[in-house]
Symmetry: C2
């Protein structure tokens, strides 16, 4: 096992073999999204320089942007103190969110206790993913 | 049920009733840590204005900083598109990490495949938590 394989194996994965990865815009430090990696997704992310995740709903490895073209080019990978969370700085093409926003965190809790949208869409999902979603 | 209770109940929690919360420094946008909330922790966070989490290892609700004094004063709460992740901007007293660093993400993956510490400690854990840890 080389050093990188050892480092990947040394992280703490949950009972499903997953570790959360916080994805941050390398340029302005905005948090773009959170998604889950398994060891294979992290290895592929490092090998290719593009983020890969494990889709819990689809049960498969996917490259971010494989459908939309909105890929994420990895600039740096960080681990937290407990080695159970990753932070990855990326150059984000276009937008991270499939709803059309730059960041998935486009809703803020208002004083009335309801979510309010605080960002502008940068693309229309129907134009990118087709009418079937 | 009032609007806030409805909003909290409307989030997607995992099978253990938890939702990950990414904690960000409101001043410089640095990601400080990731921890887990249940509905009660989120309600208490909003009610008191200080972050509260569910400790998976200790099986109880805790206020960040209850031992160290390094509390987090909430400035804004965001939800992501899937309503299964929170992002919370805080004013962090002293430091977020129990290892003595401002952020828990103080290790970056190096070209040699090993983690390297890229931050300076801002306190000595032994001074804050006592010799027993």
């Amino acid at each position: 096992m080389d050093k990188l394989e050892e480092t990947i194996a040394g992280l703490k994965y949950d009972e499903q073999g997953l570790i959360p990865a916080v994805i941050v815009d390398a340029e302005n430090k905005q948090v773009l999204m959170l998604a889950y990696m398994n060891a294979a997704a992290l290895a592929e992310t490092i090998r290719t320089g593009n983020t890969h995740f494990w889709s819990r709903s689809r049960g498969r490895l996917w490259m971010k942007g494989e459908a939309s073209g909105h890929t994420q080019q990895v600039q740096a990978v960080y681990a937290d103190c407990d080695a159970d969370t990753l932070l990855i700085e990326v150059i984000q093409r276009k937008a991270a969110c499939h709803e059309g926003y730059r960041s998935c965190f486009y809703r803020r809790l208002g004083r009335d206790g309801a979510w309010e949208v605080i960002a502008e869409k940068v693309f229309e999902p129907g134009d990118v993913y087709g009418k079937s979603g």
